[in-house]
Symmetry: C2
Subunit: 175 residues, 2 copies
Amino acid sequence: MSSIAPGPAGADHDHQHCIEQAVALAGEICQRRGVRLTPLRRRVLQLVWKSHGPVGAYAILDWLRTEDGRSAAPPTVYRALEFLIEQRLIHRIESMNAFVGCVDPSRPHAAQYLICRKCGIVTELEDQSITDAIAQQASQRGFVVHDQTVEVHGICGRCAASAAASRSATPAHPA
Amino acid sequence: MSSIAPGPAGADHDHQHCIEQAVALAGEICQRRGVRLTPLRRRVLQLVWKSHGPVGAYAILDWLRTEDGRSAAPPTVYRALEFLIEQRLIHRIESMNAFVGCVDPSRPHAAQYLICRKCGIVTELEDQSITDAIAQQASQRGFVVHDQTVEVHGICGRCAASAAASRSATPAHPA
DNA sequence: GAACCTATGTTATGATATATCGCTCGCGAT
DNA sequence: ATCGCGAGCGATATATCATAACATAGGTTC
């Protein structure tokens, strides 16, 4: 096992299934769009999906080299990532210079990300109220929105719950 | 003149005044907080305020070297920036790896940024409806928010207006 | 089969950021 | 006064993230 973040449901979910599902769906989408999900791009998508947390370009590069024995240089990875982003199969987390798989690549969306500082899991939202609030403030100022970056850092429900549990078991403050 | 972004009111405002005001206010705030706005930190703050757009760490480094003739290395700049961020005198724009002066450093706030792709000017908002929409979605999922990054890229009102004006003067489509 | 396009390989470099060590200066305690 | 101490900063080295530019391979079109 690695130390990378498990799935949104914790360590207990079938993550292999997540990956396969994401890659299969990506295959369909690319075919429909008439773009080529080449073996390299498919593999990079798999590697981004290695966890539900953000994955760095150089981590992917290392995996390509060590797991696949493939010769690879940064442009190899960045080009594949660029393609996957254009197709909205992955997202870039700006505040971490890293990438996560998109949980709903079928249609365009302005997404928001909840990023856990403890476990690293990224939860992708697609909340209209946030999008609307931003759009409204922007348009009030005559600003034409091209894209929104909303990245929220904090502690996810699961980690907060387990922290609370361990606190009650071994209280930090006797008072 | 340089090509850096002018003020929020365009090229016609007294930007020197902006800088002086920001630095003076920073001085008061630091004194009140009992932290030291040293000459270097003050100078770096000035340089961040050179424009109303995001300024990169290495641009600041160059200015320190060329304008001040000072010997400086990256850590010099990053340490000063770190201090200024801690004191909320500047903000980091994650999606650009760059920094902008804070327009209201007196009190803590969750801010949002409208970043113009044309002129580079960053408009800082402090909109409760956006903050609340994010907080609500997060808490619904048991997520404890530490901080929000909201960066909106697009075209500012001023640039949109001038683009519209030049379009009507020389229409792109004869139809 | 020549011209061409897309994807990838390869080399080099650019851009951003941090670790670490050591010096200096101000300041409080003795 | 001088010692110890911590904050700030200089300096060197290195880590990390990203792209420019050119070469090569394989398929498609004509």
